[in-house]
Amino acid sequence: MKQTFLRKHAVASMAAAGVVALVITQAHAGRILTVPSQKYHSIGAAMAKANRGDTIRVEPGVYRERVIMSPEVVLKSRLRYRAVLDGGRHGTVVSMSRKSSLIGFEIRNGTFGVFTSGFGNSILQCRIVYNWQTGIINVRNLARVEDNVIAFNGASGIQTWDVGVTSGTINHNTIAFNGNHGISLGGKSSAVIENNVIAFNYRFGIGPTSPRGEWRIAANNVHGNLVGIWPLPEGNSSFDPKFRAPRGSLDFRLGDGADGKEVTLDHEVIGARITN
């Protein structure tokens, strides 16, 4: 009987996923604003003119500005990691609103890389490095944090506080070489943390600074961090990810035999799915 239920559930889930994808596609079917262009010299200028559903497409280059995202706007680098947002060593480089998406940027040199608290935000395929404190500060609504490289930040890769799991997850990220924890869960955080590589962070891989939350931590490779007194949650593993050239060219692709496909929940490459 349970087999029948499982099959039914799988079909229902696929149908639901299709509906969600359709809704997202429709929601983002707005204008495309290109930066830089004659009309928009900076991301901030484009953001000021963007309406809900618009996409700001950013050409390669270094943009020394701190961006405050408007609701339901997609901010996308045309080429992955080639548009660089530089925070000038102070402040938060990107502050997200609600239902906004940040895709493909390198975000560096701020006090914080990204701050997100609103519902339905997504941070996808970004490289968040060399921020003086934290890569991503996430409070209240857990964002969808997926396929990012979060490394060499002065404090934690991701710091959460009182996040509730709604639609977001921390999924398929590479979180390495950060100066504090890989992921620091603060307050009553309830996070879903799956399929990540969390390696070589100075303190704990996942630092539960407060044991009050409910977490779903599974299928992560937690390796080379400070060994805590708590055992790794069941369902996670630890093996050397053999990053190709993390210090030189920030190349966090996994070495031979370390793709972890056998341990991830979706049988895809563990950590950020970097294709080039």
């Binding site: 914080f112 609504n141 630092g207």
Partner: protein
């Protein structure tokens, strides 16, 4: 070099033996400059990166509240030096600190003119620092120490005030080439002066570096000492001339360095050294153990260092401790931001939860929608939505509840609230008779990520669905999944018992009911289900369905456990009444029938009349029995007995009310979504009144259906009772008639006897007259 204070020399001469010890350590620790123990890094090398004494601007690098301490002794503990301090980060870009640095000799016996006074004396320096550091722009940090010097040199106490200035710049952060910060400090920029002597000024340039996740650390500093000094102060005592003469001045500098290696982020080894204008000055080696595992990932370090001074061939040992406390800057920032965002909705949420727990679902529902409208980013909106659905469910607004639950699953698919919403939707679907949809949701609720508790809730509902489909075996199978201690356990056991009864397995059913009865009910619903199980077991024992000794008396004992406050009290009394008749306990029977005669249930009321009639008949009160039974027959004749047809009619009426109620529910949700509570209180009050009225009607329908179902299961129908009443009435009437015939015959006999007696009397009287 500056001349030594004459007062010190005088007192040192007085303590000639002690002076021998004193002068050597003084060189070892202070090189003779006033306040040299503050300038040199060597004796507190382990805590230099965290000390405002090295540069107040570096305090911004501290991310935690921290305590530090270093304690050094030299030369058989003749001299003691210490630094203790606390640092407190403020926000992201500021720090403050308090420090106490001290130098103290051992205490000596005070002597005056070679004679001991009996007092103790010594040389003690206390240096207190208040530090403020700020990172105002880019990677530039500024810092200042405000200092108080208090010294007690062999009984002569003096105090002075001063300040240090520092700045720092984070040069580079690079994964390959390391992280580097440079610092510039003017120590004693305002030099504390005690009497005619001020502490010497020092300019220090430093470079702090770490490489590869701090596995290697280094620190280099170059000091130019005693700047801005007055040349006149550079004098020496010419013993031949017996006077002070000018001494040649010199550029005095020091270069210090330390390089450390940390193994496994816990154990570190450090070597350090110092050079000055005279050449090699000192060397040292230090070890440190840091166990952040024991301190939630914060430093908890203890160290020891040994250093030797080249010129004096002496050594010094320093112990150091450092502990970080409280939260990291980033965590404090995140907490502050989280707090700022949600004060208002958090308060509303708490209010709504309180109302929900008090059963005030209408009020809670409106507040929950207010949160959803006004605070769309509130981090608990997944639960807000769920509880809005739950309020609708509790108010029996089934269609709205189902929609709200679906929205929770769609909007917050990864939230635990989605699972609860699925369960709520399953409940609603089951109540509505949408068994297939309910079963589909059961499939969702058996996924691995669903908590066991929710799974068991779902199993209970699935058991009910199987019972509704008359698939009793599967019903019992899933109901057994609900384990002891689960909130649904008693309900699952009761339902299992019912399923077993329906499979005609009374013995097993009795075991299930027994499991329910022996549970510990905590809520009103649990108490009700236990009482329902008691009723079932009581009936089964009364009817002899359970093979056991003394089943009749056990039945009475079980039924008497159902309290007068119970919904099932009257039905229990009905059974007890008939049991009393069987046992010829007519007083008990009278008491129970009196209860039934007050019942609103026409079947029970009619049965009460029948029972009383029986009771009176057995007590030969035929007239009374006939009166009661006559009333019973008339009462039953006036009733419309519930039939399948009438039930269908009632169901149609119920469906009509249900449709109106759903419409009202939609209006309520729309109102709640579009306006605030305070905007239209009158309209909301009117809707609330309407909601209450309709809910009462729905509840009465549902109670009626339940009573019908129970009556069909155990009880008798009104026509059956009517038959019994009529039979009993006829029987009593016959008895009464039979009694009347006997009396008339006796009266006739009596009359006949009396007539004969009269006749005899008359005959006797006639005989007397004839004589």
């Amino acid at each position: 070099m500056k001349t030594t204070n004459l007062r010190i020399i005088r007192q040192a001469v007085l303590t000639a033996v002690a002076a021998t010890f004193m002068l050597m350590p003084a060189r070892a620790t202070a090189d003779g400059l006033p306040g040299e123990y503050l300038l040199t890094q060597r004796w507190r090398d382990a805590i230099v990166p965290y000390s405002p004494l090295a540069n107040p601007a570096f305090l911004v690098r501290e991310n935690y509240s921290a305590l530090r301490g270093a304690f050094a002794t030299t030369f058989g503990a003749t001299f003691r030096l210490w630094e203790v301090g606390a640092t407190q980060p403020i926000g992201m870009y500021q720090s403050v600190g308090l420090s106490w640095v001290g130098q103290q000799t051992v205490l000596f016996d005070e002597t005056v003119a070679g004679a001991a006074t009996g007092n103790k004396t010594g040389d003690m320096h206390n240096f207190f620092m208040g530090t403020y550091a700020v990172n105002p722009w880019n990677s530039l940090t500024l810092g200042v120490n405000l200092n108080v010097l208090y010294q007690d040199a062999f009984g002569d106490s003096r105090a002075g005030f001063g300040a240090d200035l520092g700045l720092a710049y984070e040069i580079i952060r690079n994964a390959r080439f390391g992280n580097h910060a440079a610092g510039l400090m003017l120590q004693n920029a305002v030099a504390p002066a005690t009497g005619d002597e001020a502490l010497s000024r020092d300019v220090r340039i430093a470079l702090l570096s770490d490489y590869w996740e701090k596995s290697i650390t280094s620190r280099f500093a170059f000091d130019v000492k005693d700047i801005l000094a007055d040349a006149a102060e550079f004098q020496k005592f010419d013993t031949l001339a017996s006077r002070l003469v000018n001494a040649p001045t010199a550029f005095e500098w020091a270069f210090s360095g330390a390089v450390g290696y940390t193994l496994a982020r816990m154990f570190s080894l450090r070597v350090f050294f110092g050079l000055n204008q005279s050449g090699f000055d000192y060397w040292g080696v230090g070890v440190q153990a840091n166990l952040p595992q024991l301190n939630l990932g914060r430093d908890l370090a203890a160290g020891f260092q040994y250093n030797g001074v080249q010129e004096d061939q002496i050594s010094m040992q320093t112990s150091s401790l450092r502990a970080e406390l409280d939260g990291h800057r980033e965590a404090n920032y995140a907490r502050r931001m989280a707090g700022k965002l949600d004060v208002a909705p958090s308060n509303l949420y708490q209010k709504a939860m309180t109302l929900h727990s008090q059963g005030k679902y209408w009020e809670a529902h409106l507040i929950l929608h207010q949160i959803l409208n006004n605070y769309p980013d509130f981090f608990k909106n997944d639960w807000v939505s769920y509880y809005a659905g739950n309020c609708q469910e509790m108010m029996d607004m089934r269609e709205s509840a189902r929609k709200t639950y679906s929205a929770v699953v769609a909007d917050y698919p990864r939230s635990p609230s989605a699972m609860h919403a699925n369960l709520g939707a399953m409940r609603v679907n089951y109540r509505e008779g949408n068994l297939d949809q309910a079963e589909q949701l059961f499939g969702e609720l058996t996924q691995p990520e669903v908590t066991d508790s929710l799974k068991k809730h779902a199993c209970y509902l699935m058991g009910q669905i199987f019972i509704a489909r008359k698939d009793y075996e599967n019903a019992v199978y899933v109901l057994q999944e609900v384990s002891v201690g689960h909130p649904m356990f008693l309900f699952a056991m009761h339902s299992s018992g019912v399923a077993m009864m329906l499979m005609d397995k009374p013995e097993t059913a009795a075991d299930m009911f027994e499991a329910c009865i022996t549970g510990e009910p905590k809520t009103a619903a649990e108490r009700a289900i236990v009482e329902r199980s008691l009723l079932f077991v009581g009936y089964m024992l009364y009817e002899g369905l359970i093979k056991t000794e003394h089943s009749f008396s056990k039945s009475v004992a079980v039924l008497r456990k159902i309290p007068a406050s119970s919904t099932y009290y009257e039905e229990a009394q009905q059974c007890l009444g008939w049991a009393a008749i069987k046992a010829r306990r007519y007083n008990d029977c009278g008491a129970t029938s009196a209860v039934l005669l007050k019942s609103n249930n026409p079947v029970l009321r009619a049965d009460g009349m029948l029972m009383e009639g029986h009771c009176r008949t057995m007590q030969e009160d035929y007239e009374g029995a006939r009166a009661v039974l006559q009333r019973g027959v008339e009462f039953v004749a006036a009733q419309q007995p519930p039939s399948e047809d009438s039930l269908m009619t009632e169901k149609q009426r119920y469906a009509g009310v249900r449709a109106s109620y759903d419409l009202l529910a939609r209006n309520v949700v729309e109102k709640a979504q579009s306006i605030g509570i305070a905007m239209a209180p009158a309209e909301l009050d009117r809707m609330h009144e309407e909601q209450r009225t309709m809910k009462q009607r729905l509840d009465s329908y549902i109670e009626g259906f339940d009573a019908f179902a129970r009556g069909a299961y155990f009880g008798r129908t009104l026509p059956e009772i009517k038959q019994d009443l009529e039979y009993s009435l006829a029987s009593v009437t016959w008895r009464l008639n039979a009694k009347s015939k006997g009396v008339r015959k006796m009266e006739q006999e009596q009359q006949k006897i009396e007539q004969e007696i009269d006749k005899l009397k008359q005959e006797l009287n006639g005989d007397e007259k004839g004589q």
